[in-house]
Symmetry: C2
């Protein structure tokens, strides 16, 4: 089982409108609701790849109730599909979210059908009390006792959660001898690095913010010196860069892809985790992450990956040793 943590889980709404014009009134043509937040997205991709996944984080209010109902509906559908496929195929996502008094935030993605662009509106998360944080920590330890193959800590922190929250969770996880990946930004990333996670997966902007250098290889090595065992930096259309104790690699698909990059980073995390769970060599994990990212950019549905594209992309990913510039 792979465990993903989404402290600031969300109910993601997608609105399709003919054309978004500021100050105008719009009839929304189509509304989609789905569980959101980075760790929940990672879990969905892992599930589609056939990995059993458990999700935790905070959930509350009517929006939280909808989120849990959607997770349960997905799990029921996946169970039916797995039975039909007689083994293999999609694995379901187990809900181990921690109930709080506050209301799960919504995010609204407004898709402009004329330009294809998405405008994103993200509500602030619920306020977490110190008692709720303590309760979560106890529940997290119980989840670690189930012996997950790997843990991913994903996304921003809701108000009230200590800024060193990820550092605390990384220490707990490492004490339990379970590999842990961190995907966050800003101060929670800075503090998290110091707790020595197995992998961090920043993007270009996040790593530059932390290390003060925009040159990817130099920045990745700086992040490694700050404590991460491995740094997998996503470079947008330029693929990914990986720095480990064994060396550095870069990987990309042969051609630049047009599409929607929403969720590409979460798919990369799923690729890295799945490779970790199967104990693949680093270059293979990286290839998987890059192919999944590309298949997500190319998917017609934002944040989902296109399985045939993934199968087709995976052998074409070029992994190269990276040299200092």
């Amino acid at each position: 089982m792979i465990l993903t943590v989404t402290l600031n889980a969300a109910l993601d709404l997608t609105y399709r409108v003919p054309h978004l014009v500021p100050h105008a009134s719009h009839r929304v043509r189509e509304v989609t609701e789905r569980p959101g937040g980075k760790g929940l997205n990672v879990a969905r991709v892992l599930g589609a790849l056939g990995f059993k996944t458990t999700v935790t984080g905070f959930v509350g209010g009517e929006t939280g109730r909808v989120l849990r109902a959607l997770l349960a509906a997905d799990a029921a559908q996946d169970a039916d599909a797995a039975q039909e496929a007689a083994g293999g195929g999609t694995a379901s996502v187990t809900d181990a979210l921690f109930q709080v008094a506050g209301r799960t935030r919504r995010t609204v993605g407004v898709v402009d059908e004329t330009t294809g662009d998405t405008t994103q509106l993200n509500e602030p998360g619920p306020h977490i009390t110190p008692e709720e944080w303590d309760g979560f920590l106890a529940a997290y330890r119980d989840l670690l006792d189930q012996g997950p193959d790997a843990v991913a800590l994903c996304g921003s922190l809701p108000p009230g959660v200590p800024v060193g929250a990820y550092a605390t969770l990384i220490r707990e996880t490492r004490t339990a001898r379970i590999p842990v990946l961190l995907d966050t930004s800003g101060e929670p990333l800075r503090r998290g690095l110091a707790a020595r996670p197995d992998i961090v997966k920043p993007n270009t902007e996040e790593i530059a913010q932390i290390t003060g250098t925009a040159e990817p290889l130099r920045a990745a090595r700086a992040a490694q010196r700050r404590g991460a065992h491995a740094v997998a930096a996503s470079l947008g259309a330029d693929g990914m860069l990986l720095v480990t104790q064994d060396g550095a690699w870069s990987a990309a698909v042969p051609e630049r892809l047009a599409g929607n990059p929403t969720g590409a980073g979460d798919s990369a995390v799923a690729g890295l985790l799945s490779g970790l769970a199967e104990d693949l060599p680093w270059p293979d994990r990286l290839a998987r992450a890059v192919a999944l990212s590309a298949a997500t950019v190319r998917s017609p549905v934002a944040g989902e990956f296109d399985e045939p594209t993934y199968e087709q992309m995976l052998p074409s990913v070029r992994v190269r040793r990276a040299e200092a510039p």
Copy 2:
């Protein structure tokens, strides 16, 4: 008691963002949720004026649950306030909404804190089945048996409701000898007019669409010929125009007002209904509608009216006999 009907009730969300930029990602600074849809807005204004109001229409799903909880919280707060004020003051709104299987729509108003503009995103309403519509009609007849002083039928129709729904409700209401006001647009307005409502309150665009003429007095008279006993047309910053069987009047505040016009039309409906319930002469009803509209435009909170502004505006509204142009 005044009854307001909102067939396409909504959960209104207001998002404040520093500046809305299409295709960008925005952190929402502040989220407000409140019961929405024209008839619910009218009821809130009537309540603030001290009129007992009952609301009906369709409600369902988790969003409907939140809407009802907000109505109940407002009612509890109003009851406390009324007790403190020892009579007079705010009257509470009674929830007589009709439960359906579909989900109450959300509307999202994105307030740009730099420009002050609001961008509106309106979800489609829930699909209403023929059985639900029949059930609603029976519940509506029961509400008419309670003998409301007046009824307001407000807003758009959700999918599945017959386009002649308002015409049906108007006939039922007139059979019960209860005055009925209609505030809608397009085909539901056209059909509603033929059922001879006591008052219609179109805006300039709605009345032009129905009558084919943009000149307000001519258009109002045309709408009257199509069946309405009285036509109260809101002309935006130019105030209102009223055509009844006794004559025609126009009314406006002495100076043009800057502010947010959201809900000004709903406040005008509340003004007309309150004047009707108190059996005021037509020019006084019109003055009340115009002053409430103006106090809504001037209110810092979208869709609410500023009570001191209302008290101050009311004596300053100029009502004049309107002449054919």
